[in-house]
């Protein structure tokens, strides 16, 4: 099922980074979903994990990792651990993953799952992700899974020069666009990216 998920949903939509594809093949997504949705764990859509949160669609997880341009020497920050699945995937590619979750129950559950699966390079903290993880900064990449109405200045500060921040926007059940924030020589810029199947809408239809 995992192989078919990667081949059809992810590679089929143009995600080509072999490290990311390999990570998606390795991480057992079904271990991160609620017991009553295990049968749907590898389906092509997000799933509820309680507390008003979701585990993202597999394709979006892979695409965000590709956009972050992760490397095996990278230190990555994730704001919004949720189920811990995204952190687990990034942990397969990057050197260290620091993930912060504000809801205590979600943080505890994700931490248990990650420990149980033996991912030693993932560090979970229950805290307000707004402040990032100052002791571990700067980060080569930052993934923000729950966007506020602004991008927290501490996160921009903790982003390494040349680093990338990726933020999904839209309804929890439907990522419409991704925003990539880049920092070059202290200048911050943003670029909106559409998931590949969401081709731009133009006239003449």
């Amino acid at each position: 099922m995992r192989e078919s998920m990667v081949t059809i949903q992810i590679e089929g939509r143009g995600v080509a980074d072999p490290k990311v594809l390999d990570a998606m093949r390795k991480v057992p997504r079904h271990q991160f979903v609620l017991p009553d949705t295990i049968a749907e764990a590898y389906n092509d859509h997000p799933l509820p994990i309680g507390y008003g949160q979701t585990i993202s669609q597999p394709y979006i997880v892979a695409y965000m990792c590709e956009l972050a341009r992760l490397h095996d020497t990278h230190k990555v920050l994730e704001v919004g651990t949720g189920s811990g699945y995204h952190a687990a995937v990034m942990g397969q590619v990057a050197s260290e993953v620091y993930t912060v979750e504000i809801v205590p129950e979600l943080a505890a559950h994700a931490s248990d799952t990650i420990t149980k699966l033996g991912y030693g390079n993932i560090h979970v903290r229950q805290a307000d992700g707004y402040h990032g993880w100052k002791e571990a900064a700067p980060f080569d990449a930052i993934i923000v899974t729950a966007a506020a109405d602004h991008i927290p200045p501490p996160l921009i500060e903790q982003l390494k020069d040349g680093g990338r921040m990726v933020i999904p926007l839209g309804h929890p059940f439907f990522t419409q666009q991704l925003v990539v924030v880049e920092k070059e020589h202290g200048q911050v810029s943003s670029r909106q990216v559409l998931p590949v199947r969401f081709v731009p809408l133009t006239g003449g239809h």
């Binding site: 008003g52 307000d128 059940f173 911050v188 943003s190 809408l201 239809h205």
Partner: protein, 796 residues
Amino acid sequence: MSATLAKAANRHIRLAQLFGVSFCLLAFEICLLRILSYVQWYHFAYLIISLALLGFAVSGSLMHLFRDFWLRHAGIVSLALILLTALAMALGRQALAWIPVDIFTAIWKPSELVWLALLCLVLFLPFLFGAFFIILSFSAAPRRIGGLYGANLLGSGVGSLGAILFLHLWHPLSIPFVTSFMCALVALPSAMQRRSHLVLVIGGLTIIGLCWQMPAAVNMSQYKALSRVLLMPDTTVTARAFDPYGVYELVSSPHLRSAAGLSLGFDGAVQPRPTVFADGATMGALTLADHADHARWRQTVFNLPYRVRDTDTVLVLDAGVGEEIRRALLEGAASVTAVEKSRALLHMLGQQPASEQNVYDNPAVEAVEDEPRSFLAARGGTYDLIILPPGRSLASASLGMQSLYEDYLLTTESFELLIDSLNDDGIVSISSVLDTPLRRPIKLFALMAESLRQSDVRTPGKHLIAIRNWNMVTFVMSRKPFSVTELERARAFATQSGLDMIFPFVAEAARHHLAENDLPAMLAGLAATPPVHPDSPFHLVPPTDNQPYFGHFLTTAAASHMMRTFGAAGLILQEWAYAIAGFTILLLMLSGLALVLLPLRMCRLTDSPARHLAYFAAIGCGFMFVEMLMIQKLTLILGDPVYAVSAVVAALLIFAGIGSVLSSSIKWPAIRTVSWSTALLLILVLLFFISHPLLATTLAAWPSSLRFAGVVLLVAFPAVVMGLYFPLGIRALERSGQLPLIPWAWGVNGFVSVISAPLAMLTAVGFGFAAVGVIGIGFYALAVGTARFMSPSGHT
């Protein structure tokens, strides 16, 4: 003599009970709309209205199927129905807690729809029982239909006003117990004659009282912002207020920070602030008097107007929690007029212990409790700057939630009023999120350009500026052309603040990039003379008062394209309002067919009912379409949609009730009355339509009590006429000995009303309210054409 007196007393009790049950049903229905807007979303309102009407329709079928039995036991059945109505209201309230409806997951897990269907069934019961009591009363005494139908309409009309009063007095979640208790009390007079009946009623009252004292906790959808925020540590609701506009909750948390429109270049601190949630959605954060927080107020897209012109006198419309008031004061405004419609919100803000947080207390601020459009029409004034806070477009930006919501502030007529309310150097500022697919900013800009043209501006492009950050755009519209110096100032502000200017100049080195569409080029096209409209599949035509749906973007081309690109689930999530409306219509069509028309069809009728069916169907449709037209037109006069709908519905039902009572004393043959009534109705509606612009302007300047009286007067005459049709039809059936058709007529009338409500709304979205009015009168004309069965020779 005593038997006659007793009979008369029973008649009066029956009239009072009809009034009471109708009152409780309508108050319950309106409060249920509020509850579902609070715990779920506004769009479930369509579902509730339709469920209520379906209850009325199905009751006709039930009555028809076992008519003799019901009539033989009319006394005890009536008592039981009133009690069941009351108990079902309390049960419906508790069911909101017991039945876990999670509509979002249903998109991938259709089995979740079972919960929604179960909830619909439970909420349908009070309407079924209540309507059954009403039709039983009609069928038991068809000769007194005028008075009985009148009591029904009067009760419903007063119930509409009662609901507004209840929403001021109680939290919406408590009101079903109030209506339930009142409804059970209605049963008391007829239960006094027998001890067993009295025991039943007291038992019912006890159960309801116990439920009221021990209400089941209703959980808000876990996907609403408030639900998610309350999961954060050290986060609590510190104040709560409610009124007919919504439930307002003030949440304090060390984790709640808001800074919409902020530049990515800002490297200071964003302080946590107590935040107000309206019906569970983020409304805005309280403003802090703390100077440490002031720096970030100056580096947002919203500061653009203050960098372009001097802004001493500022008008903030829909001021809400007051963020834009604080910004205006920080930017040096000498006086700020803040228009906010919710008294409960203003009261809650005024009660905060840290009173310096309440920006409305500032001596430079004049708070006006009014609806923005109504304020502009009635008072106007001349201002240096008028601000429409970004919340207005932010709230409507997600999920297509506001697609079918009438917004009279975002229309060309309203924007002309805005322009007229500016002084010679005045400017208007409005912001929007950059949505995907890109639609809102384009429509907003098109609206501004078109309004300028209609205000005799030949080159709108010289009167508009736009800047953006990573996810928001702010437009500034001026009454007079911007000078080169002012444009340079705007450009300098954008450059220094890490923002991009996108109109009329395009930033040389843009910091923010959109993935699709060339927004600056589109804006340039829209501002050109003649305008060049963007090549887009979406509906981007500027809204007017006739079609006041700013959030309506979907066309068949857009739907087809979105279906291909986003998939069905994506389309549904993006255009949620259409999905709910479509689902409601489908559900009602199917259930209406299954529960109303098929059972009636299965019954053996001695005569063909086609002509009768057409008559009662036509007057049902006509009533709903004309009602929708009146609500729309009179909302513009009363200003406030919540009160306007209640006032118009109340006036319409009360005067239709009077018309029904009067129908008994009309000596003309029924068919003649129907023909002349329709001719009169046509004239009244035409007069209403033609005189509306003048009336709207004249009445808008009057005090609200006089405006209300004027509206009641306008509704009264057409409503009296509209109240004649149903009793005339029923009386004709009675005279011709077709008594079994009475519940059938009620059922058909109810069924078409079910379908008409969403159809009239969709007609307004697609073709405007003028079309709704024409179709409404057309239905009444159709009623005349089918009224031959009313004449003795016309019996089939």
